[in-house]
């Protein structure tokens, strides 16, 4: 399969002519772009789509990335013309939008056990940034100068990067033998400089942090805040809530938990929930129902951290999340978690690779053992399935971090297990030669990075 670049099909330069409505010195001279008719473009992108794997193509068991089925009806809900208003519209003229925002804030608060929720962060990492900035503002308001954020070594890379971006020093916390937080190490790491501990629960091994109450106590006693990375919330719906565990701030990943499409990399949304104590620090504008039955309003919380998005975040993604939550309700959400956990446990029980830690919830990390996990993953592509996340977390050798989600049937899990086992039985040479049945064969990423060619202009040389 091969599809030429648009520019290889046609490249047409147009002059910005004398008939331009602007004087010459305000305009560029010319513009060169592909000039193709609609039928040609339809084929181009249709063929490109044929070289891309989506959730409807087959299982997509990327641990911690949680690619679950995206219900089609949510696309229709988000496509409503009423959703597409300008963000500067007067509050009086967009009461519907504000009401839906307020409802979603409420939904998310209930689900996370949080008192107030902002919808502004446009992605999970932006949610982290929002949450850590709230923590910073909180300490500053208390006249408390805290410079460190503590993060377990098994945490997502974004946690580290976020803390750094927000101006904090990162204190990395080694895991205990059982893959969980090492309480002694935590006690040693936490102190008067600690602004926050960032934690995922269940963690990236799928393990519930059983000592979460003790963890919270240690951090809170030191005057720090507890930040919940919502990446793994799909494991807990209706079973446990970050707010109840002692977390002060959290973000929700709407594509991971509420089935919004990931769009090949976004847009996402990373709403942030906080306890009542932290509500005054939320970004502006926040939305609330006015007390006197006079509808909904935007307002700036008293000590708002300001903004993390130019407008109000990725609203059309949030509309989908609202629709999903409203579709499932209490029982559906709880069932989603139950089935996600059952599926992960079932799949783990069916594969030959070792799964070193447990009991796990919605995901497990198998070890490819003597095999190279990245090679094993490439080989899985040949069996028509998407492989798990590889080589991470590092606590497991040659990690295959696997999260089937609730959206896979038993039959699909059996197929996936068969793919795992087929690969497990193969030799290194086979794995290194993989994939063989994909649109492109193994791509040499090292060379691509050594001589970066990042546009079709760079190919002309």
């Amino acid at each position: 399969e091969y599809e030429p670049l648009l520019a290889e099909k046609d490249s047409t330069e147009v002059e910005i002519g004398d008939d331009s409505p602007l004087p010459d010195d305000l305009t560029r001279d010319s513009l060169e772009l592909p000039a193709l008719a609609e039928p040609e473009l339809a084929r181009h992108y249709t063929r490109l789509s044929g070289m891309n794997y989506g959730v409807d193509s087959g299982p997509f068991p990327l641990g911690s990335c949680t690619m679950k089925y995206n219900p089609k009806f949510t696309e229709r809900a988000a496509a409503l013309p009423e959703a597409a208003v300008h963000p500067d519209r007067s509050a009086a003229s967009v009461q519907g939008t504000l009401e839906l925002q307020a409802e979603l804030q409420d939904y998310l608060g209930r689900i996370g056990g949080m008192d107030a929720v902002t919808l502004q962060p446009p992605a999970g990492a932006a949610g982290e940034f929002t949450g850590i900035r709230i923590a910073a503002a909180y300490h500053e308001a208390n006249g408390d100068d805290r410079t460190e954020v503590v993060i377990p070594d098994s945490a997502h890379g974004t946690n580290f990067a976020t803390a750094a971006m927000a101006g904090f020093d990162v204190v990395e916390l080694p895991s205990a033998e059982d893959g969980r937080v090492d309480i002694d190490a935590l006690e040693a790491a936490v102190g008067e400089d600690t602004a926050a501990l960032m934690l995922t629960n269940p963690n990236t091994l799928g393990l519930f942090e059983r000592d979460i109450e003790r963890v919270a106590e240690i951090v809170h006693d030191a005057g720090g805040l507890l930040y919940y990375d919502g990446a793994n919330l799909n494991a807990l719906l209706g079973r446990a809530r970050p707010g109840d565990m002692g977390f002060d701030v959290m973000h929700y990943n709407v594509h991971k938990t509420f089935a919004t499409p990931h769009g090949g990399g976004g847009p996402g949304a990373g709403p942030v929930g906080v306890t009542e104590e932290l509500a005054e620090f939320l970004p502006t504008p926040h939305v609330r129902e006015q007390g006197d039955d006079s509808g909904y309003e935007r307002y700036e919380p008293d000590r708002s951290i300001g903004k993390v998005h130019g407008f109000s975040g990725n609203w059309l993604v949030l509309v989908r999340a609202f629709a999903y939550i409203a579709r499932l309700g209490d029982a559906g959400l709880a069932d989603a978690s139950a089935r996600a956990v059952l599926n992960a446990n079932y799949l783990a029980s069916q594969i030959d690779y070792e799964v070193p830690y447990g009991p796990f919830h919605h995901e497990f990390v198998a070890s490819a053992g003597e095999q190279d996990a990245a090679d094993a993953a490439k080989r899985m592509l040949d069996y028509g399935v998407h492989p798990p996340t590889t080589k991470w977390p590092e606590i497991v050798d040659e990690a295959l971090m696997t999260e089937p989600t609730e959206a896979e049937s038993r039959g699909s899990l059996d197929d996936l297990a068969a793919a795992f086992d087929a690969v497990a039985a193969e030799d290194d040479a086979t794995l290194e030669a993989a994939p063989e049945r994909t649109a492109a064969r193994r791509i040499d990423q090292v060379t691509a990075a050594r001589d970066p060619r990042l546009s079709w202009h760079a190919l002309e040389d």
């Binding site: 300008h86 079973r239 446990a240 919830h361 990423q445 990075a449 060619r453 546009s455």
Partner: protein, 443 residues
Amino acid sequence: MTRQTSGSPYAPGDAADTEAMLDAVGADGVEDLFDIPEPVRFDGEFGIEAHSERDARRLVERTLGRNDELTEFMGRGHYDHYVPALVEDLASRQEFLTSYTQYQPEVAQGFLQALFEYQSMLVELTGLDVANCSMYDAATALGEAATLSQRVRSVSGDRILVPDQLREGKRDVLAAYADGPDLSVETYPTDEGTVDVEGLADALDGDVAMVYAENPTVSGAIEPELGAVGDLADERDALFVLGSDPVALALLERPADVGADVVVGEASALGAGTAYGMGAGLFATREAYLRQVPGRLVGVGEDATERRAFTLTLQTREQHIRKERATSNICTNQALLALRTAIHVATLGPDGLVDLAEDCVVLARDLAARLDEVSGVRAPVNDRHHFREFQARTDQPAAAVASDLESAGFAVHVVGEHRIQVCVTDANEPAVDRFVDAVTEVA
């Protein structure tokens, strides 16, 4: 009515499957699989009602239906251009819509190629060397540019200069990004809606790491002396960051030609339409800063058969590899919107895109002229060429004018006590006559 859902309708399998799977796992029930200590178990209810698909759709539709139906003459960073149906149709294919970030490029060649083409279009539009495959929006792209300026400028300077008229949403986001690295965001003056070059020169010193300007500016004015701004920044070794968008870039001075080091802005001015502020941040820069670029980059490589293939590249800049030393914490970006922008650009072609950009000048000019003839209105306020939008002075309080216009079915910006801002594009152009009538009525 209709089938009630007790579990998730998106989780396959029946009771027999569950039994068999529990057997295989060796558990008596699903609840046994949750290793959650009693004290933190949640035994309550969310109190969220389940709905049939039909009712969930109706709920969203009815709620959003409470918005007033207004024809918007609004812009200021969030623009509406007619999006060809082809864009929606192709970007909605599940292979694009429901795919993940391209960590396994061998099964993601389609999206990677489309993003590579998006990057290429922005390279052409900006004249710069590289573009990433999107930031969240124009404001966060500006914030990332500020942190980039810290990494690439040898100067010890920590001042960031932005125009005094900068939209507050951008200012606040920039402040958030500037806070961590302790940058100080300061303003320089503007005149007639564009840079006051002398004022900028006065503000510029060796402590300035970055100068930001926009073309067109937030008030819709086209910068007449952009080259001078670039020269000033260059003289003081400050990074020159220019804000724009793909439509304006098709017609206005090419950023590379005026010395821009970075271009940021709203790529989604094409491809998305109005979306309550949802956009896609454009980010392009010079090759020299390549390894300091935030966000994802798609590059060309070869596969094992030596055929051209696409892949995410230079990932060592990113958080999942570099952690706290990454160029940014960004992970998820706005890839689908970048795809949509690319398809929209491709659908227009160079002729269509330039035509559209020229329409943005002509429509704004003509509408301003018509409003200027309305008694009680002066437009445009700024003695500049305009792109899409312009400000108008109203004898009556602007808030009252805007409110009356809402009653008449139109939305505009209030930007001063006696100043409104009006944006006109191909999307609302059919309503221009009615709009002028309404302004005539209420002004």
